[in-house]
């Protein structure tokens, strides 16, 4: 920590300048986009004018978060092969979105996930449930990004004290609110696109530098990582992090949450509304799969590279959860601590990481404030009588409110690994949102009661299991390490809470006396498959 920090402090100016450049560029884009925002569709869906390729890049920008970049690299660096599961789950999950969700959602919804859930149901209960779960999932995800931002700045500025960390979190929060309030979806999408390009370029540069050190022979890199880890070949095999009985179940739970979570993430779902047709939505997912897949392959090189070139001792000294492995690797690749090359590469990669965080939090804030305004305010509170202008204004206020809440919460969560925190958001999304989405689209008999029970059971189930898990109490790495009220053994609730979500939707439908409306389902079916009447 001290070594890294001292060299970082000397070149702090460079990091700040690079990051300042990104902030100024994106603010200019935001202002430009903001002037072109007229209707609600501009604000929520960027006027639906993006191409499949642009949206594919923006989806990748939204998805490759601090968790992917900092968290996965850190987990692989510390736990070896077990960190790879994140990359695989995060990628395979896109097939669920591609095959079952993207196109029907684009055709049958308008601005939010709830548009699809409420299509053939009673509006107010379903929109309330979907709005609440959208906001909860987004806040979990926001927390993970903010924690990443706080950790990074502590590393870069070399400050142990909390003041600088807090001010960074506040500054990131303020910027994301500005992006969303002024730029709306159009501005936010361009920020994602710029960021995706920067992140891919940064990761590619580091990957090439890592591989070059090992004669472009991956096996040599693996060997070096294994021997530097002190664990030998076991480092390259499953079981470092998830080796014992319960931990194995945790691995399975995590794996299921990752693969089923993506297609239920509100900030990803709203991206499908930014393109004109279902075919363009499909194309954007195809592009995203390509871009994200290549990126996750690179995280392997980054993680094992950090294990080999930085070493777990140094990484743990800087951040116990491993969140700083990637920037530390950058410094090592540039020539090591104290060298100019090291400082420059560290500055570049840190600026990229900041850009990553900033873009993702903007996307999350937009999705959750859109759901607040469109679902809760316009349809539940005002019962559909709010004007478009009032709705957009309430979305902007919601962005401020949600931003403030996540800033405050993230000041308390800084010891958690960002990848693990994001995995919780995935578990909640997979439990509360995915079952309802699938039932709504494909099960004729599904009813309002089914939808509402599925969302609330999945949401409450997953959140409660997290509260009573080792993430919150009972372990040295918990949120509250000094108290112990945990009784649920797994860190990720997916294994239990996802079946609860599916079961509740099924039972709620069977047990309610409500009759589903076959005409409404016919309409949903025709619209979702053909695009007839789509917005």
């Amino acid at each position: 920590m001290t070594l890294l920090a001292s060299s970082a402090t000397e070149h702090r100016g460079l990091t700040m300048a690079l990051f300042g450049l990104f902030v100024l560029t994106t603010l200019a884009i935001t202002l430009w986009a903001g002037r072109r925002n007229r209707s609600a569709a501009d604000f929520y869906a960027g006027g639906r004018g993006f191409t499949g390729f642009q949206n594919g890049l923006a989806i990748s920008g939204d998805y490759m978060s601090a968790a992917s970049f900092l968290g996965i690299a850190g987990t692989i660096a510390l736990a070896g092969y077990d960190g790879f599961l994140y990359s695989i789950g995060f990628l395979v999950a896109w097939l669920v979105a591609l095959l079952l969700i993207a196109e029907p959602l684009r055709n049958s919804g308008r601005f939010t996930m709830a548009d699809v859930l409420a299509f053939r149901m009673r509006q107010r209960p379903v929109r309330t449930a979907a709005g609440v779960s959208t906001i909860v999932v987004s806040i979990f995800y926001l927390l993970a990004q903010m924690v990443g931002a706080g950790t990074l700045v502590a590393l870069l500025l070399g400050v142990e004290g909390n003041a600088a960390k807090r001010w960074t979190v506040v500054a990131v929060g303020a910027l994301m609110i500005i992006y969303v309030v002024i730029g709306g979806m159009k501005g936010t999408t361009w920020v994602q696109i710029v960021k995706a390009v920067l992140l891919i370029a940064g990761a590619a540069l580091m990957t090439v530098l890592v591989l070059a050190k090992y004669h472009f022979n991956p096996s040599e890199l693996l060997g070096a990582a294994a021997s530097a880890s002190g664990k030998g070949e076991a480092f390259l095999q499953p079981g470092q992090k998830y080796g014992t009985g319960t931990a194995k179940l945790d691995f399975i739970s995590l794996g299921i949450a990752l693969v089923l979570g993506t297609a239920g993430l509100p900030h990803i779902l709203v991206r499908f509304y930014t393109v004109p047709t279902a075919k363009a939505a499909r194309k954007s997912v195809l592009w995203a799969i390509g871009i994200i897949g290549v990126f996750y392959l690179m995280t392997l090189a980054l993680g094992f590279g950090a294990a080999a070139l930085v070493g777990s001792k140094q990484i743990k000294a800087a951040n116990a959860a491993g969140n700083t492995a990637a920037p530390q690797l950058a410094e090592a690749l540039g020539g090591g601590s104290g060298s100019t090359g090291g400082a420059i590469l560290l500055a570049v990669i840190s600026a990229v990481a900041f850009a990553t965080i900033l873009a993702v939090v903007a996307g999350l804030t937009l999705a959750s404030s859109a759901s607040f305004a469109h679902d809760l305010y316009a349809n539940v509170i005002r019962r559909g009588k709010a004007s478009e202008r009032e709705e957009v204004r309430s979305a902007k206020w919601a962005a401020v409110g949600i931003g403030a809440v996540s800033i405050v919460l993230s000041l308390y969560a800084d010891k958690l690994n960002t990848a693990a925190l994001v995995a919780l958001a995935f578990a909640v999304a997979a439990s509360a949102n995915l079952p309802t989405l699938l039932y709504s689209l494909f099960w004729k008999r599904f009813t309002t009661t089914g939808a509402v029970s599925s969302v609330y059971a999945g949401l409450v189930g997953s959140v409660l299991l997290v509260v009573f898990s080792p993430v919150v109490s009972g372990k040295a790495t918990s949120l509250f390490p000094h108290s112990d009220f945990h009784w649920f053994p797994l860190e990720n609730p997916g294994l239990v809470s996802i079946p609860i979500g599916f079961l509740a939707g099924w039972l709620g439908t069977l047990l309610s006396r409500e009759r589903p409306d076959p005409a409404k389902y016919a309409e949903l079916e025709v619209r979702s498959l053909t695009g007839l009447g789509a917005h």
Partner: protein
């Protein structure tokens, strides 16, 4: 207000839903999407379970330091890319043309969204 009826007469959409063309389209979509989803989820779960419960197999070396675990992980990437490409081709041929035909046959309504008009 959020989902205005597709056509003016409420029965029209029921007619489309019952039509032979639409049923074929729905069958084309479901007969691809559902089994393939089940397939890749099982294949992924197999990988996760092997990682947990077959350490011997997963640790077997294939080439240098590259072991079975790594190869299976990379295969998950490969199958994801292949399935995505396969679906893109399938949708181009079996889903887009019939969907377009139905839209045109009943196309009193919008193709491209016109938000400003709302």
């Amino acid at each position: 207000m959020d989902s205005p009826p597709i056509t003016t007469a409420a029965t029209d959409v029921q007619l489309i839903d019952d039509s032979e063309e639409f049923r074929t389209l729905r069958r084309s979509f479901r007969s691809f999407a559902f089994p393939v989803t089940i397939g890749f989820v099982l294949w992924y779960l197999l990988y996760v379970l092997l990682s947990c419960y077959a350490p011997g197999l997963m640790g077997t070396k294939v080439l240098g330091h590259v072991n079975v675990a790594l190869v299976l992980g990379l295969l998950q990437f490969a199958t994801t890319f292949v399935i995505a490409g396969w679906y893109a081709r399938y949708a181009d041929r079996r889903i887009d043309p019939p969907a377009a035909a139905i839209r045109e046959a009943h196309g009193a309504v919008v193709h491209a969204p016109r938000e400003a008009a709302e």
